[in-house]
């Protein structure tokens, strides 16, 4: 170890691996993964979200899963929780839509209204 900068570089790399265990306020993306969700294709959506988060090296974003969100006919459902924002519920998701949500909503902060439950209903 030669310098603080070198240590910091290792730290930044390593943080990504343990980030999930730290207490902090960040974005949570939750995928409904009950039987209905999985049957409607939630797993590829989840994988797409994970890949995109990893690809863009997004800190402070957690992708997790939950049970049935309740509107089975609109599955796969993805919910986005951001600090100081109302929860946004996206419905009838596909891997492509999921990637777009990461780009528009998570990165640029623009909700894609046409995918939300309000627009579809």
């Amino acid at each position: 170890m030669k310098s603080l900068q070198e240590l910091e570089k290792i730290r930044q790399e390593a943080i990504k691996k343990v980030d999930i265990r730290r207490d902090r306020e960040g974005t949570r993306i939750v995928v409904g993964m009950a039987t209905c969700g999985i049957a409607a294709g939630a797993r590829p959506v989840l994988t797409a979200l994970l890949e995109e988060v990893k690809l863009r090296n997004l800190q402070d974003v957690i992708v997790s899963q939950t049970g049935c969100i309740g509107v089975c006919r609109l599955e796969p459902i993805v919910e986005v929780y951001r600090p100081e924002e109302e929860k946004v519920t996206y419905v009838k998701m596909t891997p492509e839509k999921a990637k777009k949500i990461i780009a528009e909503h998570i990165v640029n902060g623009k909700i894609i209204h046409e995918y939300t439950i309000g627009a579809v209903e």
Binding site: M1, K2, S3, L4, L7, I10, R11, E13, A14, I15, K16, K17, V18, I20, R21, D23, R28, V31, G32, M33, A34, T35, I38, L46, L50, V53, K54, I62, V63, S64, Q65, T66, G67
Partner: protein, 598 residues
């Protein structure tokens, strides 16, 4: 780099390992593989989470779901329900002993709410066998900071200002110890770490080494820089194989990353650490005996002064601190002296780790700010006394400490308060006793330990404690006389005043403190030949209550001494006390609870 959406943390501390956590880890790997989750979910083997009572413990992040008493057959359910479908397996979650509600997340557990984890901060959070995880949680940043930004005097000053006192038992101000070693003359100096931890009931040092070994290495390197030493030794007992194993891995990794070795942080500072194994002798926790043992000599203490700061290992100036003391150092450097001294009481700063054991619901490790009351620790964190029994006393400080009664439960815990109550902080063992514990027997237990562990160098300890034990045996077997109590007290005071080292000087403490608060129990043993708690076997008498006895004869059939007589179905059964060997079999088998011991 792999990206994982969930982390499964499984406790790999000694406690959970012995209740089977390694098999759990293997099973988790198999189940994840089966469900194609091995690229999404990461298994991390950590150090102790603290709540050993509930082990093996599994925590799933990001939810922080806290599963306790996890069995092999539960792994499948956690994998398929929680990890695959995202449904937390509620019936496997940790339940508070006092309430019915299940606790979902680790942040909601009462056991952790009142705690403040500084020394144990990383324990149960990081993978101790991966230096990168330690670095991710700000590891080695403090070492970098002192080497690049601080002078040796500034480091010592920070430790002094923080108010940190030795966590191994003595409570000596750590900064002053550092300063003495820094000022000592000598071209060769050493830094040593006391990881001997021999107190019955204490295991916080083991847990730190198992859960966060790099913290000790980093702290020793900081100390080495401050006092001017280039070599460190960790003296750890061989009974701690997991701790030794992980410490060795950590040392190797630190060398590989250039955090030990030559020219660290390019500042011309060389430092290395080696492990020295002890054979598990209590006296080797005493500093001068420990240093002798590192040198390869017999672990016996020598008179002080000279203190190790001036003449330690091979007569060179040596800084010796305990594991928990070192664990605080990197945090003090990073967060500042004021941060540390804002916690605790006026004369005892920071936090202290206690090993809760005995008659308490949540057995395990707790770290609390100094000044927390004993009541908060025992009832709020410890979850109270099991089976509705009454609290009687708490023994702190191991064999060198003493017992504290219910009258003192509201005392804020710090070095000075515990000493004024006739006990001490010690390394932080905290053994809770209920109404079924006999205090004379407890004193006898601890003295039995010290007699065994006395190194024999000085007569007060070698002969004196042996005589005390003989008197205690006499009392607990019902042969004691009133003058024995006086003799015991006199002996205790004399040994305290004349023994060579800390082990001998404090050995009489359990006797003195029980005499102080529970003299009536000693007197009951001597005058009435009675053990009020029903522990001392030779003073017990088993009797059958004729009102309750249903004449079934089960007791008689199970009596190995043939001392119970009666006629099945016709006549109440009776115990012949003279023949009775007091094994307690009859009481255990009686379906009607008709038998009692007094």
């Amino acid at each position: 780099m792999e990206f994982y959406r969930a982390h499964v943390l499984i406790c790999g501390g000694t406690g959970c390992t012995s209740s089977g956590s390694q098999t759990l880890i293997d099973t988790f790997h198999e189940e994840l593989e089966k469900n194609h989750l091995n690229k999404e979910v990461k298994i991390v083997k950590t150090g102790c989470f603290g709540l050993c009572e509930a082990g093996p413990i599994v925590i799933v992040y990001p939810e922080g779901a806290f599963y306790s008493h996890v069995k092999i057959e539960d792994v499948k359910r956690i994998t398929e329900e929680h990890l695959l479908k995202g449904r937390i397996v509620k019936d496997l979650l940790f339940k508070e002993a006092v309430e019915e509600d299940q606790i979902r997340s680790i942040n909601e557990v009462d056991f952790y709410k009142k705690q403040k984890r500084v020394a144990l901060k990383n324990c149960g959070v990081i993978n101790p066998e991966d230096i990168k995880e330690y670095i991710a949680f700000d590891g080695y940043k403090a070492l970098g900071k002192v080497l690049t930004e601080m002078s040796r005097e500034e480091v010592i000053d920070t430790i002094k200002k923080s108010g940190l006192r030795g966590r191994g038992g003595g409570g000596f101000p750590t900064g002053m110890k550092w300063e003495f070693t820094y000022k000592a003359k000598g071209d060769q100096k050493y830094v040593a770490c006391n990881a001997d931890e021999g107190d019955p009931g204490a295991f916080m040092d083991r847990s730190v080494l198992e859960g966060d070994p790099h913290a000790i290495i980093e702290a020793m390197a900081i100390a080495g820089y401050a006092v001017g030493a280039n070599q460190g030794y960790v003296y750890v007992r061989a009974e701690y194989p997991i701790a030794v194993h992980r410490l060795q891995i950590a040392i190797d990794q630190a060398r590989e990353y250039g955090l030990l070795g030559k020219n660290i942080f390019d500042k011309g500072f060389d430092f290395d650490v080696e492990i020295r194994l002890g054979a598990g002798a209590f006296v080797c926790g005493e500093e001068t005996a420990l240093l002798n043992s590192i040198e390869g000599k017999r672990g016996m203490p020598r008179p002080r002064p000279p203190f190790p700061a001036n003449a330690g290992l091979w007569q060179k100036p040596t800084l010796l601190n305990n594991v928990e003391t070192y664990a605080n150092i990197p945090k003090i450097i990073l967060n500042g002296a004021d941060w540390f001294s804002s916690m605790g009481t006026e004369k005892s700063k920071g936090t202290k780790v206690f090993a809760l054991g005995g008659k308490i619901n949540n057995t395990g490790l707790v770290e609390i700010p100094m000044g927390t009351t004993l009541r908060e620790v025992i009832y709020e964190i410890g979850g109270g006394i099991p089976n509705g029994k009454k609290f009687k006393a708490v023994q702190t400080g191991g064999p060198s400490g003493g017992c504290i009664t219910a009258d003192h439960l509201d005392t804020p815990i710090d070095y000075d308060n515990l000493i004024s109550l006739g006990s001490m902080m010690g390394s932080g063992g905290m053994i809770v006793m209920d109404e079924d514990n006999c205090m004379v027997d407890i004193a006898r237990f601890f003295l039995d330990f010290t007699v065994d562990e006395s190194c024999g160098k000085c007569p007060p300890c070698r002969i004196g404690t042996k005589r005390m034990l003989e008197i205690l045996n006499k009392i607990t077997s019902g042969k004691g006389e009133m003058e024995d109590i006086d003799k015991l007290e006199q002996l205790a005071k004399n040994i305290k005043a004349s023994a060579l080292c800390g082990l001998g000087q404090t050995a009489p403490n359990p006797v003195l403190s029980t005499l102080r608060y529970f003299r009536h129990e000693y007197e009951a043993h001597v005058k009435e030949k009675r053990c009020p708690a029903g522990v001392c076997r030779e003073l017990l008498a088993y009797t059958i209550d004729p009102e309750i006895c249903k004449k079934c004869g089960i007791c008689a059939s199970k009596c190995p001494a043939d001392c119970i007589t009666g006629v099945k179905g016709k006549e109440v059964f009776k115990i012949d006390t003279d023949k009775c060997i007091k094994c307690g079999n009859c009481m255990e088998v009686c379906p009607f609870k008709a038998i009692s011991k007094k």
